[in-house]
């Protein structure tokens, strides 16, 4: 037996094949964010501030969160589909174990969102030449994005738990995802206390301040998505922000798993 024979790994391989063979899925999770990135680049890429950075250098962090946040929809649809098709019940009649099912899903979703981030990085930094402080900051930003992506998966599992059909899971997750992205100020600046309750704000703000502003973990976070006019420091450091992202991820993932178990064990 090798690592590849592991049940969770086999489930994740199956999930990845499933994703990569659905063109609709690839369109929504890869092509759409790329299209938005290019569109925003042409809209905001020419407005330089005194430091020489463009509006899009600041806005790109939100684009990445937008791309990765689609994990909410992916997970919701995947789990709802298994539930509705009877595959979940069928897996329950095998010595698979729910532990391996969730672990396999988390592995596949993490790998897929890493692929999404890498593609976004290639488009943003290698092709469009966006500004970043240094490769280390970019790597830390990458890790923060992965952690945030897993919270999106947790949210998706929660939605799948309460959705009776795949269609409901699809629609419900789209609404939740859009609300999270817009109310967190990820795509457009949104100055409101609401943003502090939403994980994309924290992930986006950390990414922005680390990779574009060159801030360290002991610096304070800002209230605004576009650092500049109107942006105020808040009394939470980047470390604190990172812990909040981790807390959201742990809470959403655990809640998702517990809710799914509760709703699908009879």
């Amino acid at each position: 037996m090798t690592l590849l024979d592991n049940k969770a790994i086999q489930i994740s391989i199956k999930n990845l094949k499933d994703k990569l063979r659905h063109w609709q899925f690839l369109f929504f999770s890869l092509l759409l964010p790329i299209m938005f990135t290019v569109m925003f680049y042409f809209m905001l890429g020419n407005e330089e501030d005194p430091t020489g950075r463009t509006g899009f250098d600041y806005g790109f962090s939100g684009m990445i969160m937008y791309a990765v946040g689609i994990g909410t929809m992916n997970a919701a649809i995947m789990f709802a589909q298994d539930k509705k098709s009877g595959m979940l019940s069928r897996l329950d009649t095998m010595p698979t174990g729910r532990k391996n099912m969730f672990l396999g899903a988390l592995i596949s979703e993490s790998l897929y969102l890493m692929l999404q981030i890498l593609i976004m990085f290639i488009i943003g930094y290698a092709i469009l030449g966006l500004y970043f402080v240094n490769p280390l900051a970019l790597f830390i930003g990458f890790l923060i994005t992965v952690v945030f992506g897993i919270s999106s998966v947790g949210m998706g599992i929660m939605i799948a738990s309460v959705s009776k059909t795949v269609e409901i899971a699809n629609a419900f997750s789209l609404v939740v995802y859009m609300v999270l992205i817009f109310l967190s100020g990820s795509l457009m600046p949104f100055e409101s206390p609401i943003v502090y309750f939403l994980p994309p704000y924290w992930a986006k703000q950390l990414f922005l301040q680390l990779t574009v502003m060159g801030d360290g973990f002991s610096d304070n976070l800002y209230s605004s998505s576009l650092i500049g006019q109107g942006a105020e420091a808040i009394p939470i450091t980047l470390w604190g922000g990172f812990l909040i992202v981790c807390a959201f991820t742990i809470a959403f993932t655990l809640l998702g798993i517990l809710l799914f178990q509760k709703k699908t064990k009879f």
Binding site: M1, T2, Q10, K17, S89, R90
Partner: protein, 323 residues
């Protein structure tokens, strides 16, 4: 492990499942022997699927228990799922995986190495006539998908196989293929529990049959026992060109001891005599030997309609299986 008789593979003890006001399974108790092909026959909504979902540990019973190879479905789920193969009623395959990928995936869930899984999947799919397909399973015909559904349940050589309506929606040729395959499995000493509402399927394949209606077992025995106990008489249908020939046959029947009853009917301007009798083909031959067609000019047609499990169900419930 509970102490049960060696030959008993599954012992269902007063199993009940209630959904709010509905008693889906209402006190079922059955013993199923090792290597037996046991059918649970009943109309849609009789509780067959609920029963199989409890036996396969997916659904928790409201009360009662079932012991599967010494393990309780309430406490021994981890052991039970290692020895059971389940072919659900719905086609549950991964549509964008190829046939062999689906089968290999199930094998991997049973801890079979990838190399062994590949070999097993190849053999099994060849047997089912779906080997070598390189397209995704969603492009398969309904019959092929159903065969794949069944192959997925068999890849790890289960000791007990649950088949929930395995031939539903199949064309006659594909149905025959699945039946042949089930009969082959019987030779391998696998205990098979077949849920079906197809009386021909239950009759021709099963060692024993339990008839389930409204969550209760209303009859249990071999198909022959059930037909003898609850069924109607067998019927020999003879049609004649001439009414005179029919009258001669009626006179002949008075001398034939095996015929229990007969009646004359007219269908599409034909003169038909329906002769009822108890017993199987042997009795039929004896009726013919005793000279039912002596002195008759010509017989247009002769049909033998055997007493079926459909008759058993009809006589027990007053309804047809497909009602």
């Amino acid at each position: 492990m509970s102490e049960i008789e060696d030959s008993v593979m599954i012992e269902i003890k007063d199993l009940k499942k209630h959904f709010r006001e509905v008693n889906a399974v209402d006190g079922v108790s059955i013993k199923i022997k090792k290597g037996e092909l046991f059918s649970i026959l009943g109309p849609n909504g009789a509780g067959k699927t609920t029963l199989v979902r409890m036996l396969t540990t997916v659904l928790t019973p409201t009360s009662g228990d079932a012991i599967i190879k010494g393990h309780s479905i309430l406490k021994g789920k981890d052991e039970i799922v290692k020895i059971i193969g389940v072919c659900p009623q719905e086609i549950t395959i991964y549509e964008v995986l190829r046939a062999e990928e689906n089968v290999e995936f199930v094998a991997s869930m049973h801890g079979i190495s990838r190399k062994e899984a590949r070999e097993k999947a190849k053999k099994l799919l060849e047997k089912f006539g779906i080997a070598g397909r390189k397209d995704w399973s969603k492009n398969f015909s309904g019959g092929m998908q159903r065969r794949l559904n069944l192959a997925m349940a068999l890849v790890f050589d289960p000791e007990i196989l649950f088949l929930d309506e395995p031939t539903a929606g199949l064309d006659p040729q594909a149905r025959r293929l699945v039946w042949d395959f089930i009969q082959d499995l019987k030779k391998e000493d696998i205990t098979i529990i077949l849920m079906t509402h197809d009386m021909v399927e239950a009759d021709s394949l099963s060692d024993r049959v339990a008839i389930l209606d409204q969550g209760k077992v209303i009859a249990l025995g071999t198909p022959t026992e059930l037909k003898e106990k609850y069924g109607s008489d067998n019927v020999l249908e003879v049609s004649f060109f001439e009414q005179d020939d029919l009258e001669i046959a009626k006179k002949n029947l008075e001398q034939i001891s095996f015929a229990t009853n007969w009646k004359e009917i007219s269908r599409k301007e034909r003169n038909i005599l329906l002769i009822s009798f108890q017993g199987g083909l042997k009795i039929l031959v004896q009726i013919l030997q005793q000279g039912i067609i002596n002195n008759i000019n010509e017989v247009e047609n002769m049909k033998f309609r055997q007493n079926s499990l459909e008759d058993v169900f009809l006589n027990l419930t007053g309804r047809r299986l497909r009602d």
